[in-house]
């Protein structure tokens, strides 16, 4: 538990809720996978706001170190894989995240933060499913890598 950051994580979470509120005040759901999906062919007509939201994500993350915060907490390779294996893991992980969020119509933001906020049973089912499957997957990877 030495890395436990309840206050920062809670503050970050509240800010995500504020962002989702801003989007819904404009009539839309802040679901990142869906926003990306609309830009990928066959795409939807309204592309500009989607692109701006994604550029905003990058800008917001860039602001964080600019405001003096340390991004050294980021550990991109949690299983301590060799570079070769880690690239393979990122490719497989990325493909599955893209496939899964597209087929399942949402990710941690759309189903998690927005869908649960709307009290959607679908979103609750999806959230419990991806959480449970991810917990089991981490357990299996830990067993396999001994990490």
């Amino acid at each position: 538990m030495e890395n436990f950051t309840p206050y920062l994580s809670l503050a970050g979470g509240l800010i995500l809720g504020v962002s989702a509120t801003i989007m819904l005040a404009g009539g839309r759901i802040a679901g990142v996978s869906g926003i990306i999906g609309g830009l990928i062919p066959p795409s939807v007509p309204e592309k500009k706001w989607r692109l701006l939201f994604l550029l905003g994500l990058i800008g917001g993350a860039a602001l964080f170190p600019l405001m003096g915060s340390d991004i050294a907490y980021i550990n991109i390779n949690p299983y301590g894989l060799t570079d070769e294996l880690h690239y393979a893991a990122l490719i497989v992980g990325g493909l599955l995240v893209g496939l899964g969020t597209s087929i399942g119509s949402g990710c941690t933001s759309g189903h998690g933060i927005c869908g649960l906020g709307r009290l959607s049973t679908r979103a609750l089912t999806a959230t419990l499913t991806f959480m449970a499957v991810a917990v089991v997957t981490v357990f299996v990877i830990r067993l396999a890598t001994g990490a």
């Binding site: 538990m1 436990f4 950051t5 994580s9 809670l10 503050a11 970050g12 979470g13 800010i15 809720g17 962002s19 989702a20 509120t21 801003i22 819904l24 404009g26 759901i29 990142v32 990306i36 706001w49 701006l52 905003g56 994500l57 800008g59 917001g60 964080f64 170190p65 915060s69 991004i71 907490y73 980021i74 550990n75 949690p78 299983y79 490719i91 992980g93 990325g94 599955l96 995240v97 893209g98 899964g100 969020t101 597209s102 087929i103 399942g104 990710c107 941690t108 933060i113 927005c114 869908g115 649960l116 906020g117 009290l119 679908r122 999806a126 991806f130 917990v135 981490v138 990877i141 830990r142």
Partner: protein, 139 residues
């Protein structure tokens, strides 16, 4: 008008993710590793986010129109079908392997890591494959 809203919302979201710890795959895996050295921090991210949306969405959605805009664009599906479960499960496996979900993956482009670029390209390829091979019947 909505372009301004989505730009602001995107910036706020990206900053919130960076502050929350979600941009670190190590933090994500630590949260999912409930039988190991469990770090429950990320429960506070979703908890905090939902604590806000459950209140604000309730009031926003009571209105016939959004505050800014002519209509709500909300998901129409309501049934729990195989696509939802299979998709969420595949996402769960990928999230655990890479430690990144779509929002943090895009946000992390800010830190110019080649590993993030590889993940984002693979994720976009995954969406492209899903849209070609498993198109939703209603979209």
């Amino acid at each position: 008008m909505f372009n301004v809203i989505s730009t602001i919302a995107g910036i706020v979201f990206g900053f919130g993710l960076a502050l929350s710890g979600m941009l670190s795959p190590g933090k994500v895996v630590g949260f999912l590793d409930i039988t190991g050295n469990w770090d429950p921090s990320l429960a506070f991210v979703m908890g905090g986010g939902v604590a806000v949306t459950v209140v604000t969405f309730h009031f926003l959605l009571k209105r016939p129109h959004p505050l800014f805009g002519d209509r709500f664009h909300l998901p129409t599906a309501s049934d729990i079908d195989r696509r939802l479960i299979v998709g969420a499960a595949l996402f769960g496996v990928g999230w655990a392997i890479g430690g990144l979900c779509p929002g943090p993956a895009i946000s992390s482009i800010a830190y110019a890591s080649p590993k993030i670029a590889v993940f984002v390209v693979a994720m976009v390829a995954g969406i492209l494959i899903a849209k070609k091979a498993f198109p939703a019947s209603n979209s």
